[in-house]
């Protein structure tokens, strides 16, 4: 990675609006999609899909606020913005927070992905070996900077367009009565589920880092709305398919409901369609944890006053393998860790931009800071 790959403003790092939308969408859609139908069903039964729409509304508002904040300093990422308004040390502190946040984000998703592979396809292979496999493409992609990440998202989205179509086959098993009556237990369970659904939309905080790279910034607000809507549509599609095929009680018994439901599809020449599907879905998961890895590298470079980004990237990737080798979290630990992490995520993606926006709005009322 030449050093200017990390300069958000330079011409060769510009991304198009499509790349912007798909990068955000990619970071949102990942391991969560596999378990979300069951997670929703456990709390609010088959009305869970209504909570998805609410979660979407909240995340759109949060993304729009982030865009508003980023507009205050369009040349740089959130780190430059904070350094500009609040001084270098505040910038460095933010960088530290984001290093920790993104590294954990990337690690937990990668680890979850490896666990899914292990439980569905490769029971005998130790997780760190699997992780070792995936660090090669990750290295090549992150090395290329935001533009390559954007292109990767585009290619992966194009490559996976067949998957929802294949899942439409399941509609012949569908039982539309499962959805009725709508709101059978009132609004309360739905509201309780919103907490879960807003976590699944986490990932739009990548706007902090890719906004300055965006070519035409006036479309940013529309872009984030489209990105969130895309994610919502995918979630709704998966959730509804699962709800329609499985009965309301049955669905709570599956952890990875989406994979289990795909298992129903069978051909005369192909059994276990879920394995093929999961293998291809790994492409989609991979683009969930690659952007945070980039963010981690970017912040590390800011924190340590420059240095070689490749080195940091290598250290992060090696660190992930070593952590997995030593700690080797099992499924429950991974679930707990993600649950703990989601609080962190809510703070970073929902609370932090709101506070920042408030502070900046008040600050810029006074002439002194208007630079």
């Amino acid at each position: 990675m030449s050093r200017d790959r990390l300069k958000p403003d330079s011409k060769q790092n510009r991304i198009t609006i499509v790349q912007f939308v798909l990068t955000i969408h990619s970071m949102q859609l990942g391991v969560g999609a596999i378990s979300i139908p069951a997670d929703l069903a456990r709390i609010s039964g088959t009305d869970g899909w209504i909570a998805l729409i609410m979660g979407w509304a909240v995340s759109v508002v949060a993304s729009l606020i982030i865009v508003q904040v980023m507009k205050r300093y369009p040349k740089g990422t959130i780190l430059e913005l904070i350094a500009h308004y609040f001084g270098q040390w505040a910038g460095r502190l933010t960088a530290l927070v984001f290093v920790v946040y993104s590294a954990i984000f990337a690690y937990l998703i990668l680890d979850r992905m490896v666990l899914i592979i292990q439980s569905w396809i490769m029971q005998q292979t130790p997780p760190y070996t699997l992780m070792l496999l995936f660090i090669v493409p990750a290295y090549v992609i992150v090395k290329g900077g935001v533009r390559i990440i954007g292109r990767y998202s585009e290619v992966v989205v194009l490559c996976s367009l067949w998957m929802p179509l294949a899942m439409l086959v399941l509609l012949k098993e569908a039982n539309w009565l499962h959805l009725l009556p709508v709101l059978k237990e009132g609004w309360m369970p739905v509201f309780k589920t919103v907490n879960t659904t807003i976590i699944t939309f986490l990932g739009f905080e990548s706007i902090y880092y890719i906004y300055p790279n965006l070519d035409r910034k006036r479309y940013a607000s529309v872009g984030v709305a489209i990105a969130n809507t895309l994610t919502l549509l995918v979630y709704l599609f998966l959730t509804l398919i699962c709800f329609l095929v499985y009965s309301p009680d049955q669905i709570t018994q599956f952890n990875d409901a989406v994979l289990s439901v795909v298992k129903i599809i069978e051909f005369r020449f192909l059994e276990r369609f879920d394995i093929v599907m999961l293998t291809c879905y790994l492409l989609i998961i991979s683009k969930t944890w690659i952007p945070p890895l980039y963010i981690a590298v970017y912040c590390t470079k800011r924190l340590l006053f420059g240095g070689k980004p490749e080195l940091y990237l290598g250290v992060f990737l090696a660190g992930m393998v070593v952590v997995t080798y030593l700690w080797n979290p099992d499924w429950n630990e991974s679930v707990d860790a993600l649950k703990w992490f989601s609080n962190f995520g809510i703070a970073i993606a929902y609370v932090f931009p709101l506070c920042l926006w408030g502070v900046l709005s008040v600050m810029l009322k006074f002439k002194r800071w208007q630079t």
Binding site: I117, V140, Y152, E154, L158, S286
Partner: protein
């Protein structure tokens, strides 16, 4: 890796610099021509010692009343022109206006040389040098005529409906072939000399009103920066010019076909014609351009679109089919229904090798057969086909070395790799399947998907002349897709593809000749 490359380059540059300063400057300072004929000829004989093909003919130059000498390399010149248009005129003819000082030579191209470097270059390029006693300069007369191949059909890229003329080994003829398609003064040509020891004429062709000037400058900068003693063919030049020397995919198209070159020029690309090489380099290029053939545009569009899709599918098959087979057989057999796996097991029962080794044996045999076929003269090559088809194909199965199914898989892979129209791309795809097979045998489907990820990452990270290699897929340019996976009717392509930056966007309809209306 790029850092190591840069260090290498730096070190090489430093070395060259020091070598140059110790030599006392470049070859240009070999000196000027003297005015005495004998002195010049002696110097010439000294420079061209041990060159029996150097012909020196001294004769009285009738018009000026002085002695003169004509010097040429006997194999590189057109003897007819030398005898009839130069010697005869000079020895016997006196022009009507002798006072004007015009040379009485009936040749078109004529230039004066005053330094020995120029003389040497002109002589070695097949020009005849005329020295006149008492003159401080010589005349280089265009009598080039070296052994040349006739213009014939393309061997590497045959086409059904396209033109049956392919490039030959002379740069000028190749440029003429392109000019026949683009008879417009907007076709501009810039010439460069590449190579320190044996300079080779390299011409850059572009359409002035279409091609983006930045691309021309980028290529020019790279051409001028080349430091090599000699280039032998276009492939070598392509390797020196490309953006990423470690990539396994070709980053420029090289073609033998003038019509392909013309069509690429019209799309706003730059064409590099290398003298002495029968293929032409086209830059910038992208991944999908390797799947377009010139025949696509002379066929009905539904058929052309079908062929396009077939090629992409073939590319996938050629790269991944053996890997998928290995993964399904040795790793993820739960994917295959029970009845099917039992019948596969029956085939495989006699085979002692694991699927990976079995595939490797067949693939390597196949690659050997192919390579043998390429290098052998045509009549013998048929024998290779028979040996490969009957002996190895059938006998290997009967002997229980490989299974029937593996032969089917490997054979379809081979056929698929022949469908890709560009030879460079086809060879690259052939190479991809070995790592895919290895990872598939170690990690099954997961190994394959990791290969896919690495492949995608490499392709989207590549650049050709600074332009994205993966356009119009990433960055997505949906408008260009009408000429990517499909070949929609020509009237839908009124605009030039966006994936190549061009000055002029429209290609058909009003304004296509005079440029865009601003």
């Amino acid at each position: 890796m790029s850092i190591i490359w840069r260090i290498f380059k730096l070190a090489a540059a430093a070395k060259r610099l020091s070598a140059r300063s110790s030599n006392g400057g470049p070859a240009d300072e070999r000196g000027e021509l003297a005015s005495g004929l004998e002195r010049n000829l002696n110097e010439l004989r000294r420079v061209f010692s041990h060159a029996p093909d150097l012909v020196v003919r001294t004769f009285p130059y009738k018009q000026a009343g002085r002695r003169a000498a004509l010097v040429y390399m006997s194999g590189l010149t057109d003897k007819n022109a030398v005898n009839n248009n130069i010697l005869r005129e000079l020895m016997f003819h006196i022009a009507d206006d002798a006072a004007s000082g015009e040379l009485p030579v009936t040749l078109g191209k004529l230039q004066t040389c005053s330094s020995w470097t120029q003389v040497e270059r002109a002589l070695l390029n097949g020009m005849s040098l005329l020295f006149v006693d008492g003159m401080g300069h010589g005349y280089a007369l265009d009598t080039q005529g070296w052994p040349q191949r006739a213009i014939s059909d393309s061997q590497v890229e045959p086409s059904l409906k396209g033109a049956h003329q392919a490039f030959v080994e002379t740069g000028e003829s190749n440029i003429a072939l392109i000019r026949r398609y683009l008879s417009t003064s907007e076709l501009k040509i810039k010439e460069y000399q590449v190579g320190d020891r044996a300079p080779c004429k390299v011409s850059m062709l572009y359409m002035a009103d279409i091609t983006e000037p930045e691309l021309i400058q980028a290529l020019e900068k790279r051409l001028l920066g080349l430091e090599i003693d000699c280039i032998l063919n276009t492939g070598q030049l392509a390797e020196l010019l490309e953006d990423d020397p470690y990539a396994f995919l070709p980053q420029f198209i090289t073609t033998e076909r003038p019509d392909t070159a013309a069509s690429q020029l019209l799309q706003g690309r730059v064409c590099v014609v290398v003298d002495r090489s029968s293929s032409v380099l086209i830059a910038p290029t992208n991944f999908v351009a390797f799947f377009q053939g010139i025949d696509d545009y002379s066929m009905r569009w539904p058929i052309a679109s079908f062929l396009r899709l077939l090629r992409f599918f073939a590319c996938f098959v050629a790269a991944f089919l053996p890997g998928i087979y290995i993964a399904c057989i040795s790793f993820n057999y739960e994917v295959i229904p029970l009845d099917l796996i039992l019948s596969i097991g029956q085939f495989r029962a006699a085979v002692p090798f694991p699927p990976f080794i079995e595939a490797l044996i067949m693939e390597i045999t196949l690659e050997m057969l192919r390579e043998a076929g390429v290098r052998l003269p045509a009549p013998v090559a048929q024998t290779v086909g028979i040996v490969g088809g009957i002996v190895i194909g059938q006998a290997a199965v009967q002997a229980g070395i490989v299974s029937n199914l593996m032969v089917v898989v490997v054979a379809s892979t081979a056929v698929a790799s022949f469908i890709i129209p560009n030879y460079d791309m086809a060879s690259a795809v052939r190479l991809i399947r070995f790592p895919v097979m290895l990872l598939a045998s170690l990690f099954g489907m997961i190994g394959i998907i990791v290969c896919v990820m690495v492949l995608i990452a490499r392709i989207i990270g590549l650049h050709s002349l600074g332009e994205s290699y993966s356009t119009p897929i990433a960055p997505i340019r949906v408008r260009d897709w009408r000429d990517v996976f499909m070949r929609l009717p020509l009237w839908t392509m009124a605009n030039r593809p966006r994936s190549i930056r061009t000055r002029q966007k429209r290609r058909m309809g009003s304004g296509s000749h005079g440029g865009d209306e601003e």
